[in-house]
């Protein structure tokens, strides 16, 4: 028998405030993005290496961890930068990786959003804009940190690998901000902070119980201002009257932001993320090889 939805939601509301802040920003193990040292667990280590190499250390002891002698002979190309055997291997690895990623890239062109949305790209940030009878609706999202971590339990990994070595598709599910601006009240826009609940996207064929996307916060913000004004009252949907929440969802649906839109946004974001990843690998390869 299905577990009761309304009971499960009661429990989930309490948990969500804790988990969203800690897990949503964590880089996944399966993420194609190269792991920047952003997690708290990595920082102390990198910092301790830096301290060992710091010439200003009071003890005067310097183990010379980063000296060239320990890294193999330097190769010169006349550019004045350091080149090591490690760099060469790194460059070769990147070339192979780029080839592989291009192979699995579904299409060179980005998927189209239905509903007459215009696309504006600025690096990892994507903006979709459309106008409906005097109203401007813009949706902004950033593909950085948009791939949720894999929830596969270690105990299940053996089983998972036996399932024909199928790799689970990486799906980008970024938070997105919807900004609705009315012509006659152009000073302020109504701004919705939306997100894809994690249990919907990560468990695949389970008994998912979350909406495809949900509204997290709503506030009025100065029109076109990229900075979030903290002095504006912000409506948090965690403890909101559900009838009001449904009206807000219907309001967005009337402006083209519904489940279909959210699904297409997910596909677009996944394609952009992959494109940016390949571009990053190419830039990294050029940087390492000094091309």
């Amino acid at each position: 028998m299905l577990k009761s939805l309304s009971r499960a939601v009661g429990a989930a509301v309490r948990i969500s405030t804790i988990t969203t802040s800690t897990t949503s920003r964590a880089l996944p193990l399966t993420s194609p993005a190269l792991c920047a040292p952003s997690s708290a667990a990595v920082r102390p280590f990198t910092r301790s290496l830096w301290m060992m190499n710091n010439s200003g250390a009071s003890s005067g002891y310097r183990p010379k961890l980063f000296s060239c002698k320990t890294l193999g002979p330097a190769v010169s190309c006349g550019c004045g930068s350091l080149h090591t055997e490690g760099d060469k291997a790194f460059g070769d690895f990147l070339s192979d990786e780029i080839k592989e990623e291009r192979k699995i890239q579904k299409s060179k062109t980005l998927p189209k959003m239905s509903g007459g949305w215009e696309l504006e790209m600025n690096g990892a940030e994507v903006k979709l804009v459309r106008s409906v009878s005097g109203e401007k609706i813009s949706v902004t999202f950033n593909v950085n940190n948009s791939i949720p971590p894999s929830f596969e339990e270690e105990a299940e990994q053996g089983q998972q690998q036996q399932k024909g070595e199928e790799e689970q598709d990486i799906v980008s599910t970024p938070n997105f901000v919807v900004e609705v601006t009315k012509q006659e009240a152009a000073k302020h826009s109504l701004v919705f902070d939306c997100h894809f609940p994690e249990d919907e996207v990560s468990h695949g064929e389970g008994e998912e119980e979350s909406d495809i996307f949900s509204i997290r916060e709503v506030s009025f913000q100065p029109e076109g201002d990229s900075d979030w004004k903290e002095t504006s009252y912000t409506l948090n949907t965690d403890s909101l009257d559900w009838a009001l929440y449904d009206h807000l969802m219907d309001f967005l649906a009337d402006r083209g932001v519904d489940n279909t839109f959210a699904d297409e946004l997910m596909q677009l974001s996944t394609a952009v993320e992959h494109q940016e990843y390949i571009k990053f690998l190419e830039d990294l390869g050029s940087f390492v090889k000094c091309k």
Binding site: M1, L2, L5, S6, R7, V9, D211, I212, W242
Partner: protein, 168 residues
């Protein structure tokens, strides 16, 4: 807590506020406002999956009810001992399936959702339609609920049991 509404599909555009208002009206008529209720809108693929898992019927359908209190006597409200038991259970609405029916019969989707939800709530309250006696009992209850609903809203809705007595 009230009604937990979930829209897990993208095939049918839904008005969430209207659906919630209609479900709240039905709860009011039945005097079950203090009980929680889950209403989940799904497409044919998901409905078929659930129907196959729980009823061994590999096809989509209009509505499936999962009562929190099993073996209730029809017409008797549950007597919860704890706050957690103030719960009727969940109703899965096959909105894609229903939309197709509505298009064929030229019916309004949201009115149909109300009729189907009334049918689903009756199941959560212990009503069944496996024997003729049960069918009559359920039909009478649905007729009462929708009669009250029509009186309050000026609509002209009829029970689902009358049209379709073999399923859900």
């Amino acid at each position: 807590m009230g009604v937990v509404l979930r829209n897990l599909q993208k095939v049918v555009p839904l008005r969430r506020a209207r659906l919630r208002r209609d479900v709240d009206t039905l709860r009011h008529i039945l005097g079950v406002q203090k009980f929680d209720l889950g209403v989940v809108c799904v497409d044919n693929r998901r409905m078929q999956q659930i129907n196959n898992t729980y009823r061994k019927k590999d096809a989509p359908t209009d509505v499936l009810s999962f009562p929190f209190h099993e073996d209730l006597r029809p017409g008797k409200l549950p007597c919860p001992l704890h706050r957690d038991e103030l719960n009727l259970g969940d109703i899965f609405l096959g909105v894609e399936f229903l939309m197709k029916q509505c298009q064929e019969d030229n019916l309004d989707l949201h009115s149909t959702l109300t009729v189907v939800t009334a049918h689903g709530i009756c199941h959560l309250l212990g009503y069944r339609h496996e024997t003729e006696e049960e069918w009559t009992e359920m039909f009478q209850r649905e007729s009462y609920i929708l009669g009250e609903y029509n009186r309050l809203t000026g609509k002209h809705l009829e029970p689902l049991t009358k049209r379709c007595s073999q399923d859900s």
